[in-house]
Symmetry: none
Subunit: 168 residues, 2 copies
């Protein structure tokens, strides 16, 4: 049994005034604990009442945390568009900022790949051409000239293709 004088291990929770916590380390701890508490409450609200929500938090050090159901961007998108979630889900167009970025990014990547291929293609041809010239001796000049015209024709065709692709 505890004697009258025996100290408790903890003073337990104390009432605090809701005002800025001045001590920096305590402020950090309070932020961390209460943020997780807030997100838990948010989760419960969603589950219990079948709601959807997003929370975006900037910590005192301006670090970003967020919670969202079904996900943050879907909620923000609905908010920004001034539509409801229901309407948003039924739309066939872009459904969230995230997805939109994703789509644009994939497109950009594809374009990049195409450009790289074109470049590689052209550089290969140039390389082949250079090699041809490198190996050439005086008596091969006439034959080379024939090749030049042949190549020119092929290049013109290829270039035309490229220009067509560019103008898309």
């Amino acid at each position: 049994m505890n004697t009258v004088n025996q100290r408790k291990k903890s003073m337990g929770r104390k009432k605090i005034e809701i005002k800025k916590v001045e001590k920096e380390t305590n402020k950090q701890v309070t932020f961390s604990k209460r943020r997780s508490g807030l997100f838990k409450k948010a989760c419960e609200l969603c589950v219990l009442s079948d709601a959807n929500l997003a929370i975006i938090v900037f910590s005192p050090a301006d670090k970003l945390f967020c919670y969202g159901r079904p996900n943050t961007d879907a909620i923000l998108n609905s908010y920004i568009k001034g539509t409801t979630l229901f309407e948003d889900q039924n739309s066939t167009g872009d459904s969230s900022i995230c997805e939109q970025y994703n789509r644009e990014y994939e497109e950009a990547l594809k374009m990049l790949e195409m450009e790289k291929k074109k470049l590689a293609d052209i550089e290969n041809r140039v390389g082949w051409w250079n090699d041809s010239i490198d190996d050439m001796s005086g008596e091969q000049l006439e034959q080379f000239m024939m090749s030049i015209f042949e190549l020119r024709t092929k290049l013109a065709e290829k270039e035309h293709e490229h220009l067509m692709m560019f103008s898309m």
Copy 2:
């Protein structure tokens, strides 16, 4: 005074399971109470730890509620612009991807521009070369051969640059 048999006025709070409240009227009451509780917690978090946050809630009936400090739109703008560090606490979806896509997308766009410039550069040179050949008559062949070697040298330099860039 209360007699021994006198019933309490309330059974008090009971433990509830965190799952969708089926009874519509109870769900509505739960939503309303817990939403205000959530906003209160959010307010306390802001004051205590000097944080900023925004909460956007769609009720089960898709009605919009929000809370923001300093205000909702300021927080959303910061979020969308992705100007700060990011840690995702999301349980259902992943929203940090959005910012990441944005960054990768910008990068891809830059790369694309670079590739296009390179391509245009090379195609200009090829075009110039083709034009040269087009206009050529028999007596200009010797002069053309001189040009070929000059060009070859220049192209080799340029190509080397490109290969260097590619290998990054």
